[in-house]
C-alpha cells in the first residue's frame, strides 16, 4: 500500500493546484510541494529495507485473465529513480515558484508537473510491464501538454507535436515488444520476466523483441536519430525542460534498459545495437552542442550527448559498466538541472537566450555565476567534481572492452573525442554567459536582479554535485550500489574508486581537457565555418513529413467518406445484402416449425396503414410537413404494434419518444430550405430502390424465419430470475436496471455525451440563412397565446404526478426511469412551447448539464456502492418494508439507479431541445442555455 501511496499522492495532489489555480504562486507552490515532499519522505523511510536488499511488492488484481494486475515493485533501481524523480521534482517546484512569480499559468504548470511526477513514478515502480506501459504513454501525453505549455506560440505547438509523435510512436513499438516478451515468458510480471533471461535470449523472436523494446527506449531517451524531438522540446518553460528533459523523462528509456538488463542484455545483438546507438548519440550531441548559440539548445544537445553516454555504458557489458552508467545518470541529473535553472533565470533577466548577446553577466549576477561554476565544472569533468569521477569511470570501462576487435581501439578513442567536445561546450556555456566581454544589445539592459532566495534550488543541487564529487564512495554505496545490484540481478562488489587513478584513463582525461580548451579557443573560426554550412531545420522537415502524411490519409479517407449519407447507407446495406445472399445461398426452408397465428382484421388494417405510411414518407419526402406527419403515423402504429403484441414497456417508451421526436424534427426542419431540390436522376433512384427493397425484404424474411422457429434464448433465464434475482416483476425494467445495468450505464452516458455535443455545436452557432421570417412576424399580437400557456401550466403538475407514478411502479409494472424521464421532458417541453424559451428557462430550477452529470453520478455511485458491500459492480439489493397507510413497499437499490437514468434522460432531452429552440429565436444565440 505504501507503494501505491507513492504514486497516488502526487496523482491526487495534482487536483489541488488545479482547483486553487487562482491563488498566488507561493501558495500554489506549497500545495504542489506537499504531495511531492510526502512521497519523497515515504521513499526515504523505505531506504533501510532497500539497502538490506529487499524487494517490496504490492499487487492488486485487475484483469487476471489477461495477465494484467496493478502490481508495484520497489527495489534498489526503482528506489534510485523514484528518489531522483521526487527529489528533483521538489526542487523544480521550488524553482517554478520564482520562475512563475506573477504569472497566471502557475496553477496549470503545477498540476501538470505533479501528474507527470505520478506517471514517472508509475514507470519506475511498476512490477507489471503492461501497467508500466500505461504510465509510459502517460508521460508522453503529459510531456506533450508541458512542451505545448505556451500553446499560443507556434514553435511550442510544433515541438509538442513532434515529441508526441516520436515518443508515443516509440511507445507503440514498446507495446508490441512487451506483448511479445510476455508471450514468450508467459507472464507480464517483472519478477518472472527477469528470471527468464536465458529462455528469452534463446528464443527465436529475441531479435524482434529486443529491437522493438529498444526502439521504445531510444525514442524516449532521445537517441540518434530520434534525438531531434529533444532540442525542439526546449520551447517548453524552463522548469519543464529542467525536469523532463534533463532529469527524468528522458531517463525513462535508460531505466527500461537497466530494468530489463537481466532479461535482454549481454548478447552480441544487444552490444551492437545499444553501444553503437550510444556512441553515435554521444558524438552527435556533443558536437552539435558546441555550435548552439541558444543556451537551452546547447543544454539540450549536451543532454542528448550524455544520454548517449549512458546508453553506451549500458551496452558495453563489462562487469562494472552498469555501475558507471547509473552513477553517471545520478551525476547528470544533479548537474544538468541547475544549468537549466540558470538558463531560465538568465532568460528572464535579460530577455534573451542567445549566447552571442549574453556576455559578461558576472558583474550583474555574481552569485549565479558561482553556483553555475560547480555544475558546469562537473559537466566538463574537472577534478573533484562528480562528473570527473563518472567520466573517468567511462574511460576505465571503455578500456575493458575486449570483443569485438574493432571496439577495443575505436571506443576509447571515440569517448575521448566526445569528452573533448563536452569540455568545450561546458567551458562555452560558463565562459560565454558570464565572461567574454560585455553584453551585446540585450533586450533587457541592465539585466534584472535575481533574489538570493531564488537561487536556493540551484544552491542545493550544486551542493549535492559537490558532495557526490567529494565523497563518491558514500554516494555510491547508498544510492547506486543497491540499484546496480537490483538491475544486475546479482549483488555486485563495491566499486573500486582507486582504479580511476590508473595511468591510461588519466591520460585520456588530460587529452580531453586540453583538447576541449583548445577547441574552445578556436571557436570563432569554427563558428564562421558552421554558419556557412547549409541550415537544415529538422522541425521543418518533420512538419513537411507530417503534412504529407496528413494529406495522404485525408485523401484516402475522403475518397471513401465523401460526406454523402446516401452513399454510406448504400454501402452498408449493399454489403449486408451481399453477405446475406452469400450466407443463405441454397437455403429454402424459410418457414419454421411454429404454426402461424391467425390473422385478425384489426392487425391487418394496422399493418397496412403502417406500410402505407412508411411508403408515404419515402414518396413525400420532398414535402417536409406531410412527410413528418406520415412519420408520426408510422411511429404511432409501431406503438400500437408493441401494445398489441404484449410489449407495454416498449409501447410506452415509443409513444413518448415519438412525441419528442416530432418536436425535435419540427425544430430541425425549420432550419432546412422550404423546398428540397430534386437531385437524384433515375438510374440512381432505381439503384437505391433496388438496394432498399432487397434489404427490406431480406430483413423481413429473416425475421419471419427466426420467429417461426423455436429458439432457446437467454430470455427464459431473465423470466425465471427476475423476481428472485432483481426483486421486480417487470422483467424489462429488471433487465435494464439490474441484469444489464452496466449496458444501461453506458447508454445513458452516450445520451449525455450526445446532448452535450449538441450543446457544444450550437453554442456559438449563428444561422444567418434561417428560414426567412414572414413579414411583420408578430402581428398576431401574442406569440404565446394565453390559453395554451394556461393549460400547459395546469398540465405540468399532472404530468409530474404521472411520471412519478410511472417511475415508482416501474420495477413491477410497465414503466421505469426512462419512460418517466421522457414524460417529464415532454411536459417541460410543452412549457417551452407555450411560454417561450426565455420564460421557461428563467423558471428552470437547475441547469441541464449539471442535471445530466448528477444523473450519471447517481447511477455510477449506485453501482459503486455495491463494491462497498463486497459485491460486483452494480449488484442490486432489494427488500420490502411496510409503511403505514401505503402498505408493503419495495425498496431496491435499482430504484436509485433508475433515478440516475431518469435525471439523465430529462437533462439530455431538454438540453437538446432548448438549444435547438434557441437557434430559432430571432436574435440568435443569446444567453447560454444548459
Amino acid at each position: 500500500m505504501q507503494l501505491a501511496l507513492l504514486i497516488l499522492m502526487p496523482l491526487l495532489g495534482a487536483l489541488l493546484p488545479a482547483v486553487r489555480r487562482h491563488d498566488p504562486v507561493v501558495r500554489l507552490a506549497v500545495l504542489a510541494a506537499l504531495p511531492a515532499l510526502a512521497s519523497l519522505m515515504l521513499l526515504l523511510s523505505l531506504l533501510p529495507q532497500v539497502l538490506a536488499g529487499e524487494t517490496l511488492l504490492w499487487t492488486r488484481e485487475w484483469v487476471p485473465t489477461l495477465g494484467l494486475s496493478v502490481s508495484l515493485r520497489l527495489d534498489g533501481l526503482a528506489w534510485l529513480f523514484a528518489t531522483l524523480i521526487t527529489g528533483i521534482g521538489c526542487l523544480i517546484i521550488l524553482y517554478a515558484r520564482f520562475y512563475f512569480a506573477g504569472k497566471s499559468t502557475a496553477g496549470r504548470f503545477y498540476t501538470l508537473i505533479l501528474l507527470f511526477m505520478a506517471a514517472m513514478l508509475g514507470i519506475v515502480l511498476s512490477e507489471n510491464l503492461l501497467v508500466m506501459l500505461v504510465f509510459w504513454e502517460l508521460t508522453s501525453l503529459v510531456s506533450f501538454l508541458l512542451i505545448g505549455f505556451s500553446w499560443d506560440k507556434r514553435g511550442a505547438r510544433r515541438g509538442a507535436r513532434m515529441s508526441l509523435v516520436i515518443t508515443a510512436g516509440g511507445g507503440l513499438a514498446l507495446l508490441a515488444g512487451i506483448v511479445l516478451l510476455g508471450q514468450v515468458v508467459g507472464s507480464y510480471q517483472l519478477t518472472d520476466v527477469l528470471a527468464a533471461g536465458d529462455e528469452i535470449r534463446a528464443h527465436a523472436q529475441y531479435p524482434l523483441i529486443l529491437s522493438l523494446i529498444l526502439l521504445g527506449a531510444f525514442t524516449k531517451s532521445a537517441q540518434f536519430p530520434f534525438h531531434l524531438w529533444l532540442p525542439h522540446a526546449m520551447a517548453a518553460p524552463t522548469p519543464v525542460s529542467a525536469y523532463l528533459h534533463s532529469a527524468t523523462m528522458v531517463k525513462a528509456g535508460l531505466f527500461l534498459m537497466a530494468r530489463l538488463h537481466p532479461a535482454l542484455a549481454d548478447t552480441e545483438l544487444w552490444f551492437t545495437l545499444v553501444t553503437i546507438t550510444g556512441m553515435l548519440t554521444l558524438m552527435v550531441g556533443a558536437f552539435v552542442a558546441m555550435f548552439m548559440h541558444d543556451i537551452k539548445g546547447l543544454l539540450a544537445y549536451s543532454t542528448v550527448s550524455h544520454l548517449g553516454l549512458i546508453t553506451l555504458l549500458l551496452g558495453l557489458g563489462t562487469p562494472m559498466a552498469l555501475a558507471a552508467a547509473l552513477f553517471h545518470l545520478v551525476c547528470h541529473a544533479l548537474f544538468k538541472a541547475p544549468l537549466f535553472m540558470m538558463a531560465g533565470y538568465v532568460d528572464q533577466a535579460t530577455g534573451s537566450r542567445d549566447m552571442q548577446q549574453i556576455n559578461g553577466l558576472w558583474r550583474y549576477m555574481p552569485a549565479l555565476m558561482v553556483l553555475t561554476a560547480i555544475p558546469a565544472a562537473a559537466m566538463a569533468g574537472l577534478p573533484l567534481m562528480s562528473g570527473y569521477l563518472s567520466k573517468k569511470m567511462l574511460f576505465v570501462e571503455s578500456l575493458q572492452v575486449s570483443s569485438p576487435d574493432w571496439a577495443t581501439l575505436v571506443i576509447p578513442v571515440w569517448v575521448t573525442l566526445a569528452g573533448l567536445f563536452s569540455v568545450a561546450y561546458s567551458i562555452r556555456i560558463f565562459h560565454n554567459v558570464f565572461f567574454n566581454g560585455k553584453p551585446v544589445e540585450l533586450p533587457i539592459y541592465p539585466p534584472k536582479k535575481i533574489s538570493n532566495s531564488a537561487l536556493s534550488p540551484l544552491f542545493l543541487l550544486a551542493a549535492a554535485t559537490l558532495a557526490v564529487g567529494l565523497a563518491p564512495q558514500l554516494a555510491y554505496q547508498w544510492l547506486v550500489q543497491p540499484a546496480v545490484s537490483a538491475a544486475n540481478g546479482l549483488p555486485l562488489p563495491p566499486y573500486d574508486f582507486s582504479q580511476l587513478g590508473a595511468r591510461l584513463p588519466l591520460l585520456m582525461g588530460i587529452v580531453a581537457l586540453i583538447g576541449g580548451l583548445l577547441f574552445y579557443m578556436a571557436r570563432n573560426p569554427l563558428f564562421a565555418i558552421h554558419a556557412r554550412l547549409p541550415e537544415v531545420d529538422a522541425k521543418e522537415i518533420f512538419e513537411w513529413l507530417m503534412q504529407r502524411c496528413i494529406r495522404f490519409s485525408q485523401h484516402q479517407v475522403y475518397g471513401l467518406e465523401n460526406g454523402s449519407l446516401q452513399r454510406y447507407l448504400a454501402l452498408l446495406l449493399g454489403t449486408a445484402v451481399v453477405m446475406g445472399f452469400w450466407a443463405t445461398e441454397g437455403f429454402r426452408d424459410w418457414q419454421g416449425s411454429i404454426a402461424l397465428q391467425p390473422l385478425d382484421a384489426m392487425t391487418l388494417l394496422g399493418g397496412l396503414i403502417l406500410c402505407g405510411a412508411a411508403f408515404g414518407v419515402a414518396i413525400f419526402h420532398h414535402q417536409r410537413l406531410p412527410a413528418l406527419l406520415l412519420l408520426g403515423v408510422t411511429g404511432l402504429f409501431v406503438t400500437l404494434t408493441f401494445a398489441r403484441f404484449s410489449a407495454p414497456d416498449l409501447a410506452l417508451t415509443q409513444l413518448s419518444v415519438e412525441v419528442m421526436a416530432v418536436v425535435i424534427m419540427m425544430l430541425a426542419l425549420s432550419f432546412l430550405p422550404q423546398q428540397s431540390p430534386s437531385e437524384s436522376r433515375w438510374p440512381r433512384v432505381s439503384r437505391d430502390l433496388i438496394i432498399a427493397g432487397v434489404a427490406g425484404l431480406g430483413v423481413a424474411l429473416f425475421a419471419f424465419a427466426i420467429l417461426t422457429r423455436p429458439m432457446e434464448s437467454i430470455s427464459s433465464f431473465f423470466l425465471a430470475n427476475s423476481v428472485s434475482g432483481g426483486g421486480g416483476t417487470n422483467v424489462v425494467n429488471v433487465i435494464l436496471v439490474d441484469f444489464r445495468g452496466f449496458d444501461t450505464l453506458g447508454e445513458i452516458t452516450v445520451l449525455g455525451i450526445a446532448a452535450v455535443a449538441v450543446f457544444a455545436f450550437t453554442r456559438d452557432l449563428h444561422l444567418k440563412e434561417r428560414a426567412v421570417p414572414i413579414a411583420d412576424e408578430n402581428w398576431v399580437a401574442e406569440p404565446h397565446p394565453i390559453i395554451l400557456s394556461m393549460v400547459a401550466r395546469l398540465v405540468l403538475p399532472i404530468a409530474f404526478l404521472v411520471s412519478a407514478y410511472i417511475f415508482l411502479r416501474g420495477h413491477n409494472l410497465p414503466g421505469g426511469g426512462f419512460i418517466a424521464g421522457l414524460v417529464t421532458a415532454v411536459a417541460l417541453t410543452l412549457q417551452y412551447m407555450a411560454g417561450g424559451l426565455a420564460w421557461a428557462q428563467s423558471r428552470m430550477v437547475m441547469q441541464f448539464r449539471p442535471l445530466i452529470g448528477a444523473g450519471l453520478l447517481v447511477a455510477l455511485f449506485t453501482g459503486l456502492a455495491s463494491w462497498v458491500f463486497g459485491y460486483p459492480f452494480l449488484t442490486s439489493a432489494f427488500g420490502y418494508v411496510h409503511w403505514p397507510l401505503i402498505g408493503k413497499f419495495e425498496l431496491a437499490s435499482a430504484l436509485v439507479f433508475d433515478l440516475g437514468v431518469y435525471l439523465t434522460v430529462v437533462g439530455a432531452t431538454l438540453l437538446i431541445l432548448a438549444n435547438l429552440g434557441k437557434l430559432m429565436t430571432v436574435a440568435g444565440p443569446g444567453k447560454e442555455i444548459g
Binding site: 414572414i774 402581428w779 398576431v780 397565446p785 390559453i787 395554451l788 393549460v791 395546469l794
Partner: protein, 118 residues
Amino acid sequence: MTTTEIPFLLELVIAFFLLIGALVALLGSIGLARLPDFYTRLHAPTKASTLGVGCTLLGSLLYFSFINEGISVQEGLITLFLFVTAPVSAHMMAKAALHRRVRCVRRTRNVPWEGDES
C-alpha cells in the same frame, strides 16, 4: 363476455349516447371533407373530437360502470382531457393560420389583413 342483464332503460340511454356520438363524428368527417376553407373546416373535427368522442365515451362509461360494478373513471378522464386539449389545439391552429394569412373564402367578414397589399 359477461352475460349480465342490462336493464332496458339503461340500454336505451347507452344506445342513445353511442348513436349521437357516431352521428356527430360522421358529421365532423363530412364537414372536414366538404367545407370550403381552413377556418370553416377547423370547426368540424373539433366538434367530432369533443362532442362525438365525448358522447361515445359517456356511453362506454355507463356500460362498463354497470358491468364491472364500480364507476369506470378512465372514460371520465379521457373526456376531461379531450375537452381541455381539443379547444386549445384548435385555437392554436387558428392562430397559426391567421399568422400565416391562410386564404379564406370570399364571404368572410372582418378579415384582419384586409386593406393590406394582398
